[in-house]
């Protein structure tokens, strides 16, 4: 293998051309465009952001000095930050939980053989493919306080007497955003979990039948433990994604009413692009980044423990 590789390089470099003989690029050249783009657009900006978070850089004035951890100190005492923090955690917890639960139910239905299953699976890709901005506008219209069809349907079946201002009232706005996110992401979650379900050998179902287990017992004692690693991985990716929610909030409510739906991403974005506080905004972004790593580590620990249990 190694010999053929070496041969290949000398051939690539036109044998006889002495100038090129000493320059042996190797297969790493093929990775260069990809690694260079990722390095320039992801790695370098993250480091630059870290550096900026220790400075009081603004885009509106020429101030740009090193201020140490002052930005982080400001974050800790910033009530707007804690407000956004609370909403972000609420949103992440609620949407991850609901999407995993509904996704699991959908996956269990799709694991059965029935006519028209392909159509159901195709339909489930529709919410995933729709641009999030369109989803936001769509739910803005569905949940409109005056002419929204959701209010009409709820009045029609008698659940509410008067129209609810879903998006304009601080009590309901965050809930409406969660519903929109659940709509958009649950089908995708269902497909991921379906993939996990299909790796469980069907012989186990037969064994359960022979042992006299009913459907519920088979699910609870056989399928669910085997599916746990998939569930953890899928919900980890979901939680990481939910934590950085931006589009839905920015377009549907803009963080309002009265900051009732402000989340960390929208707060950071406003600090960066409305207040033009690049230093402080970068500190907020770095804080989010660190929190995401913590979330990933927590899930990772759980996952390792579960996998060890299943392995034994």
């Amino acid at each position: 293998m190694a010999i053929t590789e070496a041969e290949m390089h000398t051939r690539t470099l036109r044998p006889g051309n002495i100038r090129f003989r000493f320059w042996r690029p190797g297969p790493f050249v093929f990775l260069l465009p990809t690694l260079a783009s990722i390095g320039a657009i992801a790695i370098y900006p993250v480091l630059l952001g870290l550096w900026l978070s220790f400075r009081d850089t603004t885009l509106s004035s020429p101030t740009d000095t090193f201020i140490g951890l002052a930005n982080y100190g400001q974050i800790v005492s910033d009530s707007q930050f804690w407000n956004a923090w609370t909403h972000t955690i609420q949103f992440t917890a609620a949407s991850t939980l609901l999407e995993t639960l509904f996704g699991l139910m959908i996956a269990l239905v799709l694991a059965e053989q029935f006519r028209g299953r392909g159509i159901v699976r195709a339909a489930m890709l529709v919410p995933w493919a729709i641009p999030t901005v369109v989803t936001s506008k769509m739910f803005g219209w569905l949940f409109d306080g005056q002419n929204g069809i959701v209010n009409y349907l709820l009045r029609f079946v008698g659940l509410i007497q008067h129209n609810i201002d879903w998006i304009g009232s601080p009590d309901f706005a965050l809930g409406t955003i969660i519903i929109a996110d659940v709509w958009k992401t649950t089908p995708f979650m269902g497909l991921l979990l379906l993939a996990g379900l299909q790796t469980i050998p069907s012989s186990l179902a037969e064994a359960s039948v022979i042992d006299g287990a009913n459907a519920w017992q088979h699910f609870w004692y056989v399928k669910l433990p085997l599916l746990t690693p998939t569930l953890l991985i899928a919900s980890m990716f979901r939680a990481l994604d939910a934590f950085r929610i931006f589009d839905l909030v920015y377009v549907l409510t803009g963080g309002g009413p009265a900051d009732a739906t402000e989340v960390l991403s929208t707060l950071t974005y406003k600090q960066l692009f409305s207040a033009l506080q690049v230093g402080y905004g970068s500190a907020l972004a770095t804080t989010m980044f660190i929190t995401e790593i913590v979330i990933a580590v927590i899930f990772g620990v759980f996952l390792l423990r579960k996998m060890r249990e299943v392995g034994q």
Partner: protein, 290 residues
């Protein structure tokens, strides 16, 4: 819901489900379909109704009489085609570059001698989990210094880097599933790696490449935050930014918004429905079986 009947043999042997749970399954399937496509169907219906009907109670489920005034509005009044052209340019360029760079990288990782290939793959995956808000500020500073604000290239370069991890990973998995004997024969005949890649591996992997390209296309077409931050004039803004800005002074033009939503989403929905099997296996690493 019976969990017993999953095995195919049982089904073929005529395993009888209790009829009650069959009904339950079909009922659940119906709920899933309605939940998934209902909101979009309502958006389509909205886009074809005149404002007077949209503001009346009870709402009209079906548009009658049909009007195309909202579609006329968005193209004539709001130059919606401008956003569409911008989006097409940015998205097509991104998809092409993503597939070019990503497939070559995936090929090298899958086939050539690269030390620490799994460390490289892990690095690429790790980067894809960075929160995008953490890079938008520094990139904006860089973009300002380079004079790249309000250009197509700034969006293309950013979307390229955001799309590459997915492309590399999906194609890496696919290339590894191709038997080595196929390209080894060409190698013995003296073909260079790039030639093997473009002449043998790439044509063989066309379905996977098309699927990956589609995932890339959809991600770039739908991206909002960077487009919002980096473009401020209609000559470079993409469709999501255009739709987000569709707000009237005193009321929201729901009919126009719905029409714009239908115009940008219908191609995606059609594409997804046509290629659904490929997309599902691309998204789940080939794990969902028929």
């Amino acid at each position: 819901m019976s969990k017993m009947g999953t095995s195919r043999q049982k089904w073929q042997q005529g395993f009888k489900f209790p009829s009650r749970s069959r009904v339950l399954i079909y009922l659940s399937a119906l709920v899933i379909v309605c939940w998934s496509v209902g909101p979009f169907l309502w958006q389509m219906s909205t886009s074809l109704q005149p404002d007077s009907q949209l503001l009346s109670s009870p709402p009209h489920l079906f548009p009658y009489p049909i009007t195309i005034e909202h579609f006329v509005n968005i193209f004539v009044g709001k130059s919606f085609h401008r956003y569409l052209i911008n989006s097409v340019i940015v998205t097509v360029a991104t998809t092409f570059l993503c597939l070019l760079f990503g497939s070559i990288a995936a090929y090298a990782l899958a086939r050539l001698e690269i030390r620490g290939r799994f460390r490289v793959l892990g690095f690429i995956l790790g980067v894809s989990m960075f929160p995008q808000i953490a890079i938008v500020g520094p990139l904006y500073v860089l973009g300002t210094n380079f004079g790249w604000l309000d250009t197509y290239r700034v969006l293309i370069v950013i979307y390229l880097a955001l799309g590459l991890p997915l492309v590399t990973w999906v194609l890496f998995g696919y290339f590894r599933s191709i038997p080595r004997t196929i390209d080894e024969a060409a190698r013995i005949d003296g073909a260079r790696p790039l030639r093997i890649f473009f002449r043998i591996i790439l044509p063989m992997s066309l379905p996977a490449v098309v699927t990956t390209g589609m995932l890339c296309f959809i991600a770039a077409w739908n991206e909002f935050m960077f487009a919002l931050a980096f473009t401020s004039d209609i000559n470079h803004q993409t469709v999501p930014v255009g739709i987000a800005n569709f707000t009237g002074l005193h009321y929201v033009p729901w009919g126009d918004v719905a029409a714009a939503s239908v115009v940008v989403t219908l191609p995606l929905v059609v594409m997804v429905l046509v290629f659904q099997q490929h997309i599902i296996s691309g998204l789940t690493g080939g794990a969902v079986k028929e």
